[in-house]
Amino acid sequence: MKRDLRDLIGRYGVVFALLGLFLSAALFVAGFLGLGNLTTILLHVSVNAILALGMTFVIVTGGIDLSVGSLVGFAGVLTAAALTSAGLLGTLGVGGATLLAVLVGVGTGAAVGAANGAVTAYGRIAPFVVTLATMTIARGAARLVTGGVPIGFPAEADAAFAQKSAALNALHAIGGGRIPVPGLERGFPVPALIMLALVATGAFVLTRTRFGRYIYAIGGNEEAARLSGVPVQAVKLGAYAISGGCAGLAAILLVGQLKSGGPDAGLLYELNAIAAAVIGGASLLGGVGTAWGALVGALLIGVLNNGLDLLGVQSFWQEIAKGAIILFAVTFDVWTKRGHRHA
């Protein structure tokens, strides 16, 4: 009986924590409960939630992906470059170039992610080291491509000014757009919608497909999975490609939102993504973690930041609070699992 309760708390503890935080913010923080503010929170967490979703795939296999933050920067500048390339705009038109830019963003992310996975799985090198290297390389490449300066809105003297700004505006419809919803003054943010759709898809893949089952099997017991005929290396590669693809998508949303791709975008985002995944219940030992958990983890961080923002608390304190929550989440996780040892 006691174990059942512990199980329940263990499984939904983060959800309870989110609800508790939400309720206290609703009670004590003026301006928190407004629909406008709540949709803003969703918008703000969307990039981190998408990265945390991809990260969850990797963490469940027992790996880690440190490269996603740099990848957001690298895929972002390539997206922005494609979007503002006079040549591409000339041949493909605004619509075509925008579509291509989106493909470039996601494709770059997925390709670099797949490379991470290939080296990790086939080269049998620790993912921490592999993705640490990729993190450095991608950041350097982003700065190299841009010369260290953001690629963004064209100067008015630019010959292709109209086309370039039209393309940036087209992408802004994705990254900064809002869908009108009755009762919601400013509408529902498109990135939040994309985030929700992605998390739902991720949850489906993890729980209902063979690939998803294999991911849990590898994280749970890689040797048993291999002996059962699971193509361990290919599945790992897939997990890292998904994480990279999510980073590419996050990059597109950021570029669209800001109408510019900066080489330093996404700095330290990998740590926020890991934090969200872990708070959401993913275990760095592998085998445990869910897509919805990643979302809940990102929301928890988002609600906390928003509440403290509204209270006028310094951002330094917000960082300290976030760290405390991570520590608490992991300690809590260990506590709920302890009950299983003598089962």
């Binding site: 497909t209 849990y216 040797e223 048993a224 291999r226 059962s228 005929g229």
Partner: protein
């Protein structure tokens, strides 16, 4: 006079008891599902070399753990120097003068021999490590053991035999009074064994007692002055080496009270083999292994730990590659590169350590059972839950997973060892394997579950599967196998069937008796 003498003889046991350096009396150790040691007595005097022999699983390692302080007995008494003691930890036993040297040597490979020898008892001067003193003391101890090396050399650069001497040197530096060695010669060459034997002799002249665990009877007889034989957790014989010959030792090791019911075969094996193995080699684990396996037949593989049985089976399962050899499966050439290949061709391997290699413990029973065949239940990219559950139910019912009807949504961790093994069998039942290789299928399960698993294995053969059964438990092979291959030191030492298939013959082939 005569009564006096008689009394002396009568009290000799008690006398010996009193002078024993280490004495275990009626020591019992139980683990979940198995009594590892059952009221075992063991007395060891200073300066003697005492060998503990027995089959795999006889309780030798458990005995060693009790001596090392790594584990504590559930009942019985341990006396050290005549005083009852409880070793709280390995550190406690060490402090009292007991050093245990395991087969897996406990050295830090990146550190020097000197640093390893003084690990945990470093000499200091003014609070700083006194390297010079330690190096000199290490060199002296190593020299006494006949190892003349630079003591600062990292242990990773030393051979296995040299590392063993480093561990012995550690015992010397600690002023150990008793040294216990676990299978000390298993990985040594003949020359190295001779050197070790000489050093062990020298230790005894220093008044140090030596206990060693082995199943190499020839070396046991060469090194030990007294021998204790364990079988199924009981002490069955103790005596002087000169009082016993090898055949007698073997009889003590295998003669037993319990035998399993032999499950009669439900069918005659097909005449044509499904698996034919010729000259299979993967040095240094095994060489030139040849045999064939027919549908409906159970072929046992006997041998001591380290004989190369699992290594051989792993290549057939595609886990490791063989270097040379020729294998045909159902008439076609067979050379799996991955477990996936092997499964696709219908070869299933049930690993020895099911928790480590056979199951995802976090998974539910259903998820474990369907893992190799998940593809079957996928439609439109989605696992069809209902079909998956149905298949898992069929398979777990077939292996009689208890409690019936099987609950396939239970977490695998909640099952007993015997039931976990049934889950593994159910999993491979679903793959429609033609050849099933069992590696120690009943290790760690209780007797009742063993009998049940035996029934399952026999019924697999009756379904027309070809079964290769690796087991270190002779009664299990006697109860199940139609014939048995005996491996010794990586080679097939012989094949026994019919009247020749007896425990004594198998053991004799396994330990090499002329």
């Amino acid at each position: 006079m005569q009564t006096d003498r008689k009394r002396r003889t009568e009290t000799q046991g008690a006398l010996h008891w009193r002078v024993s350096l280490l004495a275990l009396s009626a020591v019992t150790k139980r683990y979940p599902g198995v009594t590892a040691l059952d009221a075992v007595d063991l007395a060891i005097a200073a300066g003697e070399v005492h060998a503990v022999v027995g089959e795999n699983g006889a309780g030798k390692s458990t005995l060693l753990n009790l001596i090392a302080g790594a584990d504590r007995p559930d009942a019985g008494e341990i006396r050290w120097d005549g005083v009852p003691v409880t070793f709280a930890s390995p550190r406690d036993a060490l402090r009292r003068g007991i050093t245990v040297i395991y087969q897996e040597l406990a050295l830090v490979p990146t550190l020097g021999a000197d640093a390893n020898i003084f690990l945990g008892m470093e000499r200091t001067r003014h609070g700083l490590l006194d390297g010079a003193t330690m190096r000199a003391a290490a060199a002296k101890a190593l020299g006494e053991l006949g190892l003349h090396i630079d003591p600062a050399l990292p242990v990773s650069r030393l051979s296995v035999a040299q590392r063993q001497l480093v561990e012995l040197a550690r015992a010397l530096v600690r002023d150990a009074r008793l040294v216990a060695l676990d299978e000390p010669t298993a990985t040594l060459t003949a020359h190295e064994v001779a050197h070790l034997a000489a050093r062990i002799d020298w230790l005894t002249t220093q008044g140090i007692a030596v206990v060693f665990v082995s199943h190499r009877l020839e070396e046991v007889r060469r090194l030990a002055s007294r021998i204790t034989v364990l079988r199924d957790g009981r002490r069955v014989w103790t005596g002087a080496t000169i009082d016993v010959d090898e055949p007698a030792l073997i009889r003590h090791m295998v003669g037993r009270d319990v035998a399993y019911v032999r499950h009669p075969a439900g069918r005659i094996p097909d005449p044509a083999p499904v698996l034919a193995v010729r000259g299979l080699t993967r040095a240094p684990a095994f060489h030139d292994v040849s045999f064939s396996l027919r549908p409906g037949e159970i072929v046992g593989v006997a041998g001591l730990v380290g004989a190369g049985r699992s290594e051989m089976a792993r290549t057939l399962a595609g886990i490791d590659l063989w270097a040379a050899g020729d294998v045909t499966l159902a008439g076609a050439p067979y050379r799996p590169r991955t477990p996936r290949d092997a499964i696709a061709r219908g070869v299933a391997y049930l690993p020895e350590d099911r928790q480590r290699d056979g199951l995802v413990l976090r998974f539910k029973v259903r998820e474990n059972v369907t893992l190799p065949v998940l593809r079957r239940f996928v439609r439109g990219g989605r696992i069809q839950h209902v079909e998956e559950v149905r298949a898992a139910r069929v398979a777990t019912t077939a292996v009689d997973l208890r409690p019936a009807p099987p609950d396939v949504e239970r977490p695998t961790t909640a099952l007993s060892g015997g039931n976990q093994q049934k889950v593994v069998i159910a999993k491979w039942l679903l793959t429609d394997a033609r050849v099933i290789v069992f590696d120690e299928p009943t290790r760690g399960v209780d007797v009742g579950a063993k009998v049940e698993l035996h029934r399952q294995i026999r019924s697999l053969a009756d379904l027309g599967k070809a079964v290769l059964l690796i087991s270190s438990e002779l009664p299990e092979l006697l109860a199940l196998a139609d014939r048995v291959l005996v491996m010794r030191a990586g080679r097939i030492a012989g094949e026994l069937s019919g009247d020749a298939f007896t425990a004594e013959r198998v053991m004799a082939l396994a330990v090499e008796v002329p």
